[in-house]
Amino acid sequence: MAEKKTKRRDFLFTATYAVGAVGVGAVVWPMIDQMNPDASVKALASTEVDVSSLNRGKTITVLWRGKPVFIRRRTQEEIAEAKSVKMEELKHPEKDEDRAKDPEWLVMLGVCTHLGCVPLDQKGDYNGWFCPCHGSHYDTSGRIRKGPAPTNMEIPEYKFVDANTIKIG
């Protein structure tokens, strides 16, 4: 009976809701996005580190984007141990060569991939790192071997700007 009229109304309702939704979205998004990292936080994106005084078998921890980064100058035994692991044994299979381009230098985020604690150096069942919070064990390549962490410790973007300086980020 009033089919035509109903259609006109339906169109108006739909159009109104659609415009309203866009309007609400346009107001809500700035309210949400203001919580994302701001320009001053993003500006601190890279750090340069002098590693000339770092001996073999030692680690230094530097702060990059508010997070610790481990720079470890690995011993031959550690490199051999990291390279000898079979891929099938790994929870998150990654070759040591892909993690440490120069096998002597392992640069990675010192953040446990479980819930973000800082793992302890030279601890755990695999002579690498051990997270005290929930018991994740990492090997000499920073790969997860045992415990709740789902993935290996992350390798940030970095490069040697000269023989003694690493630029992270």
Binding site: G66, L115, C117, H134
Partner: protein, 421 residues
């Protein structure tokens, strides 16, 4: 809302009440018919109101001296402790007040579990209560971050990282929560804002909680429907007011003991070390009231499943009115349920204990068994028990066992169906 029409005695009162019926509301609250057999476990609602007000008042005062900035927060808390007049007292009341709040809320929740207060027609009261409990946990967590000690920082890191378990968007959500690439100043300022907001949300929900309570009225220790008002009820004032007041005084003695004699026993010494993003404390533990859930989180070896298990442990409570299939409310008349109830209490205490211990060896095994039992209790035992259990006959009214007879015809008619379960 009003069972009977209330007319203020004074002319001014009547004039005002006709325009805004606040006096009608006050009369409803004072005359409100309450089951006369309510025991002391029922006094924790009032105690919790006291806790909320205490936290709001002390929090307001602390906010006058606290500085929400990563470089100054830790020092400003020490400034409160050492320089501000009575700052030590106010901060210790606020810090221990959180623990007292949770102590009271756990008793309040377990009271409901024992006497079946979550069952029809009180499901909405129960669910609002669960939401309040969730908000309390959020407020407690956010507040614990504010002193910017080691436990603050690493607790914030671990808890916000729970969101990274969400597939695809998890990392983005964590960065959004932090306002950076780690817990830092932007995180602190927003946590302070939200910590300030949540108590007022809780206050609003408490009003709804009490409103929803006043529709069916209080449950009672024998869990039967009662007629209101009747021989089974007493007016809220003065009977319940005095009883609640006495219980509150007893509670305040415990509260004062912690504040004045062992103000730091419920905290963690590491939180008196300023936050350091390079060093994680050797042993991270949340505050005691979150330990059972922390134990559940750690008992699951998979990150995402661990987070799901922990959240489910809380949300399962919201489904409780439908998981418990028994028509009898009070555990007094459910001999088997009563035993399972105490096993659950023990189970939660065990979870709390292993949550404070390192997650390895025997502790981990115990945590896993206790986690499994927690879910079995709600998902298997409660639904089955409602059909299998032989319950004890329920009295017709609160006065019946003493005086005989019942002022409550509805229960009398239902009695046969209840006995035949």
């Amino acid at each position: 809302m009003s069972e009977h029409e209330y007319i203020p005695k004074s002319k001014v009162g009547k004039w005002f009440n006709d325009r805004l019926p606040l006096l009608t509301l006050a009369n409803h609250l004072t005359d409100y018919p309450t089951p006369k057999n309510l025991n002391y476990w029922w006094t924790f609602g009032g105690i919790l109101t006291f806790c909320l007000i205490t936290q709001i008042v002390t929090g307001l005062v602390l906010a006058m001296h606290y500085i929400a900035h990563a470089d100054m927060a830790f020092e400003s808390v020490e400034h409160i402790m050492r320089d501000v007049n009575y700052g030590w007292l106010i901060r210790y009341i606020h810090a221990n007040g959180a623990s007292m709040f949770f102590l009271a809320v756990y008793i309040h929740i377990f009271r409901s579990l024992f006497y079946g207060s979550y069952k029809s027609p009180r499901e909405i009261i129960w669910i609002i209560g669960i939401i309040i409990y969730l908000l309390m946990m959020a407020a407690a967590f956010l507040g614990y971050v504010l002193p910017w000690g080691q436990m603050s920082f690493w607790g914030a890191t671990v808890i916000t990282n729970l969101f990274s378990a969400i597939p695809l968007v998890g990392e983005g959500i964590v960065t959004w929560l932090w306002g950076g690439y780690s817990v830092d100043n932007p995180t602190l300022t927003r946590f302070f804002t939200l910590h300030y907001l949540i108590p007022f949300l809780i206050l609003g929900l408490v009003v709804l909680h009490i409103w929803a309570l006043h529709v069916p009225g209080n449950n009672n220790p024998i869990g039967i429907d009662i007629k209101k008002p009747s021989k089974d009820t007493v007016p809220f004032h003065p009977y319940i007011v005095i009883k609640d007041g006495f219980a509150l005084l007893m509670f305040m003695i415990v509260f004062a003991f912690f504040v004045f004699y062992t103000p730091n026993i419920l905290g963690h010494a590491d939180n008196y070390i300023e936050a350091n993003p390079l060093v994680t404390p050797a042993h991270i533990v949340p505050e005691w009231y979150l330990l059972p859930f922390y134990a559940i989180l750690r008992s699951v070896p998979d990150k995402l499943l661990g987070v799901i298990a922990m959240l489910s442990a809380i949300f399962i409570l919201a489904a409780l009115p439908w998981l418990d299939t028994s028509k009898i409310r009070s555990a007094v008349f459910r001999p088997l349920f009563r035993q399972f109830y105490w096993i659950l209490v023990a189970d939660v205490l065990i979870l709390g204990y292993v949550g404070a211990m390192p997650a390895e060896g025997l502790y981990l095994l115990i945590a896993r068994i206790a986690t499994a039992y927690y879910f079995i209790h709600f998902l298997v035992i409660l639904p089955v028990l409602g059909f299998k259990e032989r319950t004890i006959p329920v009295p017709l009214s609160i006065t019946e066992p003493i005086l005989g007879g019942s002022p409550n015809l509805a229960t009398a008619k239902n009695k046969d169906s209840l006995i035949n379960q």
